[in-house]
């Protein structure tokens, strides 16, 4: 009896659904009909690291994305072009604890169980790597804020979009030019053995070799390295003018500390993260340990006053950082930037299908200008629009702190370079 009732109910629901579908398809071109079948909300799924090595970087990225979501929801949601209306955004996020194996399970869960409309990866290449294959397998577009490993972007995979930074292999182009410009001929490169750092090291080595400079040291070290004293001594014995250390913040901090206590001095010291996580680095190594260190330059230190979408740098600092630039780091901007790219995808896609979203992103390439710079991707989804200038941490406030100055190229520079470092 109960079975019979249930079958009747199913048939009735199926009939209703078919009727609704028929109405929907007949009136697809009208706004009113489109609105009728619009989802109650757009679900955005992402992961973050609540603990572990990447927590420091992952959490600001999530904060930037959340900021964009709350900002859009305050307006009634993101504008979805396919339905000609704003639809509220809902965030589903899981804590991967900086573990790529946990992340792999959770990315799968976001796609298969939560059935998210938009998939956003966690910070960095290590935690993005598992998402790349999973997203491709399920034919879901991966919005990738900071996973810049060059191996992610291949001609066969159209299901990834790097929203913020260029691929890490492109990062050092201005750095190589700077080294040539300063006529530095003895360069030591020590890099962590992971995709992110190895691709930067390769670019630098190839660029320098083209310029006739052979690095005096070119060594990989394990990503888990936290003691650099002996490595610094080994490098110092080769008398380089420039020492480039390519690692994550957990490497940059002990490296700069060990360098300070070693008593060794190099005309130029470069590490990747002081430009991104300046406050963290300064609180750990102090003003003396950070002064005159070179790094990449990132927003918000690179200020954008003309944007086609979203907030200008000044407005973002005001709204997100409560008016204090020191409250904002690049990863906050990267999370917010991912939101802006998603916003464009939703606004221009003909439907919420993944292929339509990907096509919409491609259509906005070269047209979108935000506080993060120009959004310009190639057919593989790799970001090409941004170039990271060279920055230098310069003593400020009577040498009690440091500030980030952009020193190269001249078109982006806002202060003079100090080379060799005193």
């Amino acid at each position: 009896m109960r079975k019979h009732k249930s079958a009747k109910l199913t048939a009735a629901l199926a009939g209703l659904a078919l009727t609704a579908a028929a109405c929907g398809s007949s009136g697809a071109s009208t706004g009113a009909s489109s609105s009728a079948k619009a989802p109650a909300h757009i679900t955005i799924g992402t992961l973050y690291s609540g603990s572990g090595s990447y927590a420091t970087s992952s959490q600001p990225q999530l904060a930037g994305l959340e900021f964009w979501i709350s900002h859009e929801n305050a307006k009634g949601g993101a504008y979805v072009g396919a339905y000609h209306k704003r639809i509220p955004l809902k965030l589903v996020d899981y804590n991967d604890q900086s573990s790529s194996s946990t992340a792999a399970v959770q990315y799968n869960q976001l796609i298969t169980q939560d059935k998210v409309n938009i998939l956003v990866s966690d910070f960095g290449s290590v935690l993005t790597a598992p998402a790349v294959t999973i997203a491709e397998e399920h034919k879901v577009v991966l919005f990738d804020p900071t996973g810049t490993g060059t191996s992610f972007f291949t001609p066969g995979n159209s299901y990834i979009v790097l929203t913020s930074l260029p691929t890490s292999g492109v990062w050092p182009d201005p750095l190589v030019s700077f080294i040539e410009h300063e006529k530095i001929s003895r360069v030591a490169i020590v890099y962590d053995s992971n995709d992110f750092d190895a691709s930067q090291a390769t670019t630098i080595k190839d660029g320098l070799t083209k310029a006739g400079i052979t690095p005096v040291v070119y060594e990989a070290v394990p990503t888990s390295t936290t003691s650099y004293g002996t490595i610094i001594s080994t490098v110092a014995a080769k008398h380089p003018q420039a020492f480039l250390e390519l690692g994550y913040p957990t490497n940059d901090i002990p490296f700069l500390q060990n360098l300070q206590s070693s008593g060794d001095h190099f005309g130029m010291v470069f590490t990747a993260f002081p430009g991104q996580l300046h406050s963290l680095l300064e609180s750990n190594v102090g003003e003396k340990g950070l002064a005159y260190t070179f790094s990449y330059g990132f927003p918000p230190q690179i200020s954008s006053s003309k944007v086609s979408e979203g907030m200008t740098t000044a407005r973002f600092v005001s709204a997100f950082g409560h008016g204090k630039a020191s409250n904002v780091n690049f990863l906050d901007v990267a999370g917010y930037q991912a939101g802006l790219v998603i916003e464009e995808a939703l606004a221009h896609a003909s439907s919420l299908s993944q292929s339509a979203l990907r096509a919409a992103v491609a259509s906005q390439s070269g047209k979108l200008h935000t506080l993060d710079g120009s959004f310009d991707i190639n057919s593989e989804g790799a970001q090409l629009g941004e170039r990271l200038p060279v920055s230098q941490m310069l003593p400020a406030n009577g040498a009690t702190t440091t500030k980030i100055g952009i020193v190269y190229p001249a078109s982006a520079a806002n202060t003079a370079v100090t080379y060799p470092a005193p």
Partner: protein, 292 residues
Amino acid sequence: MLFEFAVVAGILFGVYYALLGVGLNLVFGVLQVVNLAHGDVVMLGSYLAFEAYYAWHLNPLWAVVIGVVPALVAGGALYAGVGPRLARAADPEMLSLVLFFGISQIIEALATVAFGNNQRSVPASSLGAAPLRILGERYPRDWWVVAGVSAFVLAALFAYLYASPVGRATRAVMSSPRESAAVGIDVRRVSVATFGVGTFLAASAGVLGVFLLGGVNPTEGVSITVTAFAVIVLGGLGNAPGTVLGGLVFGLATELTQTYASTWSGLVPYVLLLVVMLARPKGLLSKSARVA
């Protein structure tokens, strides 16, 4: 020149690694317990140094002294609480693994809540700014200070083990708990004291590790336990003096590899461990040479 530097650095780090492992080995030798929370206690010691320097404006080395009583009491109390239950278990070693893994996770979670996720550091200059020039080479001063304090704590430990009544009783229990009980040694009391001493040794290694291990973060406990375990297996499980040899071998292997083949520096010490295990399964100071 590079070789000399690497050897001296290896010895300095080796003395520290010995301190890092000796508490774990002492606890294993006496209690037959693998304390998987050892690295987390080391991590707490590093935070104590951080607080001593930034919150109380003290030389961070004072944290070694400040940590003595809390570590002895907390370690002793913990073992007094769980020891009897472990003793009654059908498989106490397996239960201890699970139990201390749980404690490790709890410490990590509480440390994350208390201190946040960010890496924290204490400047090496707090132990003296200028590098030391020895045999024509320049060494960071903090390496020498850390190795010196580690050697002092190790010497104090061996004085305790060989010259005090409780220490002699500890060595007796390490050799044979049953025979020790038969001659009137209170094995339970010795066990509680040993766990307290082991906790203090881990905490003091943490105070010093904030300089040699690149700062502190709440999740570093597991990797520290792995390093400490490698050191004590190299020297000989349950063999406290062997830990010193294990630490020196581990330190030299790490620093020499960093100098001549830095790409493999994360691998070589563990390959060495494997080789030692195959050649001398009971560690470098095997049972025939064992001195409890």
